[in-house]
């Protein structure tokens, strides 16, 4: 620090505490709501201190059957699978395509690069109907394949790996070749272990990405068996105005957002690395 001015330090902490309050506030409210019984929330003023009903609300969320929504555990299961398949799939296909683009020279290489690049310019939101039609024609509606495969192509992950491979000294591959390693062996023995940190960082980012998906599952699932948590809590909340059960809905919302939030808190270093590097 260049100088030490007490009032400036005070101001700094004041600003940060205000910031943290703003950021935490909605989630705090949700947490509080999830610890009260149904009556405490419908009586006009929402309480600001925790109640004792958290466990009951959680049990209710986990056990009750709501109309038009799959059981909570099933949706959680679907979300988990969707996030995992997307994470693994994206990393797998990105790392091998980056490998091909960096370590081989083949006709069509630049074209392949540009085709991958184009995906950046085509978010699901701008091609809703035709993509839905393709998935429907392939018979992939209401399936894990339909939920995940169309989201697996990834320019950002490919670029991240490409960028990383370019920083590995050329001699590494030459030494491996002199040592008798072919392309697959080099990939397995040298490149993959060297990419560990990048893969871990991407895992964090992509798991969160997969978990958050909303529009896509909304389009390709009509069978509640394949609903994800994001769809489920939205559906629960949508009927809440008519049938105010905010306590259980908030309990569900808190549970639904918990896994990625915990990942960010406990893997902050990887999360930051992943987020910053994929944007390079």
């Amino acid at each position: 620090m260049v100088e030490n001015r007490p009032w400036l330090t005070f101001l700094t902490h004041f600003v940060l505490i205000c910031g943290v309050v703003i950021v935490v506030f909605p989630v705090y409210i949700a947490l509080i709501a999830s610890t009260h019984g149904p009556t405490a929330l419908s009586s006009g003023m929402m309480p600001l201190l925790p109640g004792a009903e958290l466990w009951n609300n959680v049990v209710q969320v986990l056990t009750e059957q709501r109309r038009g929504v799959a059981p909570f555990w099933l949706m959680a299961w679907n979300s988990l699978w969707m996030a995992i398949i997307i994470t693994v799939g994206k990393i797998a296909i990105s790392i091998i395509s980056a490998y091909a683009i960096v370590y081989f020279r083949f006709p069509g290489r630049v074209l392949a690069f540009w085709l991958i690049f184009i995906t950046l310019m085509l978010p699901v939101e701008v091609r809703i109907i035709p993509t839905f039609a393709v998935v429907a024609n392939l018979g992939m509606l209401n399936s894990y394949a339909g939920l995940t495969i169309p989201l697996i192509a990834s320019a950002t992950a490919t670029f991240l790996f490409r960028q990383f491979f370019m920083t590995i000294p050329d001699e590494m591959m030459e030494a491996a070749r002199v040592d008798g390693a072919g392309p697959l062996k080099f990939f397995r023995d040298i490149l993959l272990p060297l990419s560990r940190t990048n893969i871990a960082a991407l895992c964090v980012i992509l798991f969160i990405y997969g978990w958050m998906q909303y529009l896509w599952p909304l389009l390709v699932t009509t069978d509640p068996k394949y609903y994800t948590l994001m769809m489920g809590v939205k559906r629960m909340a949508a009927v809440a105005d008519a049938d105010p059960q905010w306590n259980t809905i908030m309990a569900a919302v808190v549970m639904a957002m918990l896994p990625p939030v915990l990942i960010v808190i406990f893997m902050q270093r990887l999360f930051v690395k992943g987020l910053v590097e994929t944007e390079k």
Binding site: P169, E174, A176, R177, V178, D179, G180, P193, R196
Partner: protein, 347 residues
């Protein structure tokens, strides 16, 4: 153990850039040949062609009896030491040494025997279980050497292996490489841009320039009888003084000898110039700068009528001071004559 033969080897890059012009070179079994030249002269490219890391446009390269043009690096049975060592950072030293042997399916006990032997020779046994990043530059260099030794290949290829080390360590490792190569008697090709390293290491020296070989020979032969202006200027430190005859004639007058026809540049090593008077071309000039190196002194002398500074080496302390006038002689026996146009030596 094998000889290496290059016949009419050419390398043309995309866009018609010729890196190596048709070139012949034979390296005898057990010999240490150093390729030396300025950056961009093609020495690394040539080494990488021998290794199989660059394709060969024309000609043949054989190692032992086999023409290896189409062979993968691993099939050529060579080992390479890289400038940045290229150690696998995620593997321990032991794993680094073992990797090439494992890929060849060497039996386990043989791998252990060779790794332990190499580690003993290179004195890296205590570090076998460390990762490369935990080692100093010199230790990494030894591991890189070890990776080559354990393979017991037909040839070692060194690509500027010492240029990442500091001067002192470089001197030590140079001696060690020489000793190791003598005891293993493995054919070696060594690339460097450092002429001192080249002179001290080589059985035979290959000076390259612009994708061509300028001269091949024992280091001392090259020093004593440089075949071209380029070699004359490149080998030796401080470099040979190269003076145009026309300018010399104007200032040296009567002391100017008759030189073979075609000579228009004469060269003289700085340590052959005699301060004072004697037989030879007599010149005088002003000392601009003196560099006392310790055992000798380098004098930079400006001579009226020459548009370049002459370098003189005096043993011990300089006999004159800066800004002093100095008389000196270029003895006839020490002169090298060159033709400017062809760049070649005239005898």
């Amino acid at each position: 153990m094998a000889s290496i033969d290059l016949k009419g080897v050419r390398k043309v890059y995309q866009g018609n850039v010729t890196a190596i012009h048709a070139l012949d070179l034979s390296i005898a079994d057990g010999e240490l040949v150093v390729l030396v030249g300025p950056s961009g002269c093609g020495k690394s490219t040539l080494l990488r062609m021998i290794a199989g890391l660059e394709t060969i446009t024309d000609g043949t390269i054989s190692i032992g009896e086999d023409v290896v043009n189409k062979k993968e690096p691993a099939e050529r049975d060579i080992a390479m030491v890289f400038q940045n060592y290229a150690l696998y950072p995620h593997m321990s030293v032991r794993q680094n040494l073992e990797y090439g042997l494992k890929n060849r399916g060497t039996p386990r006990d043989e791998i252990d025997r060779r790794v332990n032997e190499a580690a003993r020779i290179l004195e890296i046994t205590p570090f076998l279980d460390r990762k490369p990043r935990q080692l100093s530059g010199g230790q990494r260099q030894r591991v890189a050497m070890g990776r080559a030794i354990v393979r017991q290949p037909k040839a070692f290829l060194f690509d500027e292996p010492l240029s990442n080390l500091d001067a002192k360590l470089r001197g030590q490792m140079r001696i060690e490489i020489r000793r190791l190569q003598r005891s293993l008697k493995t054919t070696s090709v060594y690339v460097t841009h450092d002429q001192l390293e080249a002179m001290t290491l080589a059985d035979r020296l290959v000076v390259m320039n612009g994708g061509r070989i300028e001269q091949v020979g024992k280091p001392i032969e090259l020093y004593d009888k440089p075949a071209s202006l380029f070699v004359a200027g490149f080998i030796g430190s401080p470099p040979m003084n190269l003076l145009p005859i026309a300018a010399l004639q104007a200032i040296a007058g009567g002391t100017m000898p008759n030189l073979p026809t075609g000579t228009d540049i004469v060269g003289i090593r700085p340590d052959e110039v005699v301060v004072g008077s004697g037989e030879g071309i007599a010149l005088s000039g002003t000392v601009e700068l003196i560099e006392p190196v310790g055992g000798e002194s380098h004098l930079y002398v400006r001579v009226e009528g020459l548009d370049q500074t002459l370098i003189l080496v005096q043993q011990g302390r300089a006999s004159v001071g800066e800004a002093d006038k100095v008389d000196f002689v270029l003895p006839l026996a020490a002169l090298h004559g060159f033709n400017k146009e062809s760049g070649l030596r005239v005898d």
